[in-house]
Amino acid sequence: MKTGPAANNVAVPPTKSGTPAATTGGATPAAAKNGRSRRAGALRRAAARIAALLASLLIALSMAFMLGRLSGDPTTTILGPMATAEQREALRHDLGLDRPLLVQYFDYLKGVLTGDLGQSLQFYQSNTSMIMDRLPFTLQLVAAGISLAVLVGVPLGVLAATREGTWWDRAASTVALLGQSVPVFWFGMMLVVLFAVNLGWLPAGQSGTLKHLVLPALTMSVYPMAQIARLTRASMSEALAEPYIDAAKARGITGRRVVWRHAFKNAMMPILTIVVLQTGILMSGAVAVEYVYSWPGLGQLALQAIQFRDFPLVQAIVVFGALVFVLLNLLVDVIHSIVDPRVR
């Protein structure tokens, strides 16, 4: 992307049709003054966006906190049903659960700010370090899954859009629909049955080599692939109907270039958004896939935490997921402002 000095002297608002902009006539006289106010406007918008994201993060934190307190008495799980009332009381005191809720809440917020997500009840370890231990596995899986989803979904959507109404389009749309409706755990198990049990080509679970990654990544990619394909089709067919596409063809620009350089570039923003958001969903939603393939990632950890009513750990994982989501949202905004000259 180029930023010339002229790019900032903008008086004309980003209108799509010709007429409103035309009424401003020569855009130059007011340009110098508007350059500054426009940049200020962009800054204000960025600040508002960040504030909104922080607010949603705080809401997520609070909800995680409340869910942790609402999910039953952890002392029963830890000490078993035979423990005496005194023992329980002592444990509550040790865990700080006998303090007022508000104090616990602010303690918790302070901890989050300093990167301390509390201690697990079952592993007697720092939640943060446990999450960090599992994170590489989940990241590996998510990266492989989302790449696969993009590599298949985007071409599929473009194919469907450029051949709208044909047999290709219908085939691609059917694949996308199937991918969206197939349950992840079922698909995962079918892959295991086929490739691990019957054919014996790939391992059925655990992590380690690249071979171990294939089936879980494939399983994970199916849903986002379908989403990406559908959105790409919609976004592309909208872009292909724009007059500048006909104009580009009229200027002699050839088919493939029109599709990728002009239509796809303009259709890209929603696709990029959904890719990033799907990444966030995969990060926190890998539970089923990790369970089916006994993949030692965050999803497994979350499952263990829930089964044991290890509410500090559940809380920590939820908080971590929320943080990832907020950061990814911010990333979308940043990418948007870089890619789209109208936002700058």
């Binding site: 180029k2 010339g4 000095p5 002229a6 790019a7 903008v10 004309v12 608002p13 980003p14 209108t15 799509k16 049709s17 010709g18 007429t19 902009a21 035309a22 009424t23 401003t24 006539g25 020569g26 855009a27 130059t28 724009e242 007059p243 500048y244 006909d246 104009a247 580009a248 063809k249 009229a250 200027r251 002699g252 620009i253 050839t254 350089r261 002009h262 570039k265 303009n266 890619v339 789209d340 000259p341 109208r342």
Partner: protein, 301 residues
Amino acid sequence: MSDVVQKEVPGGDARHPRALNNTADNSANRHQDDSQDRGQGWRTPVLEVDHLVVEHRNRRTGELFRAVDQVSLRIGAGESVAVVGESGSGKTTLAMAATGLGARGEGDIRLLGHSLSAVGRKQLRRLRPEVQVVFQDPHGSLDPRQSVRSGLRELRSLQPERTSWIEDTDLLQRVRLEPSILDRYPHQLSGGQAQRVCIARALLMRPRLIVADEPTSGLDVSVQADVLALLKEIRANTGAALLMISHDLAVVRSVCDVVHVMYHGRVVESGPCETVFARPEHDYTRELLAAMPGARWRSRR
């Protein structure tokens, strides 16, 4: 109705004498800066449309709608021809079919002597630069994510030899735009500026025919005259023929030599502008003229 068409369609016969003179002048001009062999020579009409029929099928009802009905016209090198008619009269469909962009329909279309139904994709691609279109909505016909400079660069990379004749800044000067506009994006351009950029892009290709589809109707009144003057000037300087699609008779009169009046997909009257406007023969033409602002005050005879 069909007898009317039979009588008046052959546009070639009704060619304006001045158009012929232009052709001769322009061919002399052309040869100086034109090293490329243009093949068919200058006597070949730039565009010939022969009994063109284009039908659209209504998606819901399945009915066929005849947008263009038995239209024939002919544009010689350097001529300027207008097609006028109300919206829905089929003039844009005609223009799109004639440039090989829209539905081709039945009947023969010859661009620079090449019949569109006979040329392959490769050859059509080679013909494309010879015909450049300036659209009605200047902002719509520019990619919002492409700066003016990168748009020009793209065209240059497609046709390196053809476009090497002029620098970006000189090209912009020809359409009276400041060089500072090069780094702007379409949304940073006014309507008039955007249309000038579109014209510059067309000009860059050194086309033999410029098709202008309502080039001024999306623009401010104050800018319209400038853009028209620019089109006229370009035609005079480059010898490109002009096919102007418009509903505005004043525009047509100021720019074109020959006019075809379209009504419900048919050409109902054609001839030199002056003749048609002075002595309209078809009722519809008379109606159009009467609807023209200020027409009442002009002497009719």
